[in-house]
């Protein structure tokens, strides 16, 4: 049967891959997020950077993230094909050959790291190379199919772009840069587990050991609340370390209160208990039982965006940092 399928595949003309399909390999939505957080790191470093070199640094971060996305899509094509959210991706849908995705990922990784090193500095290039390696190898190949802590540890890859941006601008990675990294790192578990509560059937079908699949919905809801409590001090901390100003303090506290409220409501709900909680229309269309999970998932994106946008806005507007502990 398998041989017959293989023979049929070789005889059939390959699907006509458009250039847009190769752009999809780079996960443009993820790229836009890392551009935003990388730019915040670059601006918050507070060192004058030539605008052209600054733009090149952001381009390198975006292309590096895209390259790791292509490598992820090459390796994960088998499980992507089993999940509703991912089965339309270029490789599992047959539009792009796996080998092409792999080649594109490797070539863009090398180009982005080398250009970052030559145009900015080798600390930023090294951090970018580490980020690509961590996402494509440590998370995708090793953690994702092995442990329920996959997105906790793997979240480091998504958290590093502000440090890369900071290093690109200043040639250093001080504690405040790592604080921005810690904010995204601690934000990832409640964000991703809220989503996986109502998409867990997909993950179970694909054999991915996401927390709700392995530990159950009740345990996941409790852990979301725990991580939310751990995350919020990190989110507010920049107002005390000379990074954020008054606006940041207000946004982080008010938004943090809403975040915590939604996490408590989720912990008290039955989200993730019933089957078929997600409807077919996108990530936000869920049945009544999963609304608390959907609400936290959606607000977590808004909150993180607000935190970084406020930091960025304050720096660009020349607002003074609070420096409460200085």
């Amino acid at each position: 049967m398998a041989m017959a399928t293989a023979q049929t595949t070789t005889k059939t003309a390959p699907a006509a891959a458009r250039w847009q399909d190769y752009i999809q390999l780079l996960k443009p939505r993820v790229m836009s997020l890392v551009v935003f957080t990388g730019l915040t790191g670059l601006v918050c470093a507070g060192k004058p950077v030539n605008p052209i070199l600054g733009a090149v640094a952001i381009l390198c971060i975006a292309v590096g993230a895209g390259a790791s996305g292509a490598l992820n899509m090459w390796y994960d094509a088998d499980i992507d094909a089993k999940m509703r959210r991912t089965r339309g991706r270029p490789v599992p849908s047959g539009k792009v050959q796996g080998a092409d995705a792999l080649a594109m990922g490797i070539v863009l990784s090398i180009f982005s790291v080398m250009l970052m090193g030559m145009a900015l500095n080798w600390l930023a290039a090294g951090l970018l190379a580490f980020t690509i390696f961590f996402y494509a190898v440590v998370y995708t190949v090793w953690l994702k199919r092995w442990t329920a802590q996959n997105i906790v540890i793997g979240g480091l890859a998504g958290a590093l772009p502000p440090v890369i941006g900071w290093a690109a601008a200043s040639g250093a990675a001080p504690l405040n840069a790592w604080l921005l990294c810690a904010i995204i790192f601690m934000w990832t578990p409640p964000h991703f587990w809220a989503l996986s509560l109502y998409t867990r059937e997909d993950y179970a079908k694909a054999g991915v050991p996401m927390m709700p699949v392995v530990a159950g919905a009740a345990s996941t809801r409790r852990q979301i609340l725990t991580y939310s409590l751990l995350f919020l001090p990190f989110a507010i901390a920049p107002a005390f370390t000379g990074l954020g100003g008054l606006a940041y303090l207000a946004v982080s506290i008010l938004g943090g209160a809403v975040f915590l409220l939604l996490a408590v409501r989720l912990a008290r709900s039955q989200a993730g208990e019933a089957s078929g909680e997600r409807n077919d229309d996108g990530l936000y269309d869920v049945r009544a039982g999963a609304r608390d999970a959907r609400n936290l998932f959606a607000f977590s994106i808004l909150y993180l965006a607000l935190l970084f946008a406020t930091l960025l806005g304050e720096r660009l507007a020349g607002a003074r940092a609070l420096e409460l502990f200085h």
Binding site: A13, P14, A16, A17, R18, W19, Y22, N50, I52, L53, V56, L59, F111, L115, M118, A119
Partner: protein, 50 residues
């Protein structure tokens, strides 16, 4: 009229053309980028050589 180089459909030929143009543009942009970065990095130091 030239024949298509492979036994491909009209849609496949169009897609291939699109991919080739996108790749060419990407390479041209990369060359320009490296040139501009070189000039910016050299900056005023170019004059100091002489």
């Amino acid at each position: 009229m030239t024949l298509p180089p492979f036994n491909e459909s009209e849609e496949q030929a169009r897609a291939r053309r699109g991919r080739n143009i996108a790749l060419a543009l990407g390479l041209i942009l990369f060359v320009i980028l490296v040139f501009v970065v070189t000039i910016v990095r050299l900056g005023g130091n170019v004059a100091n050589v002489f």
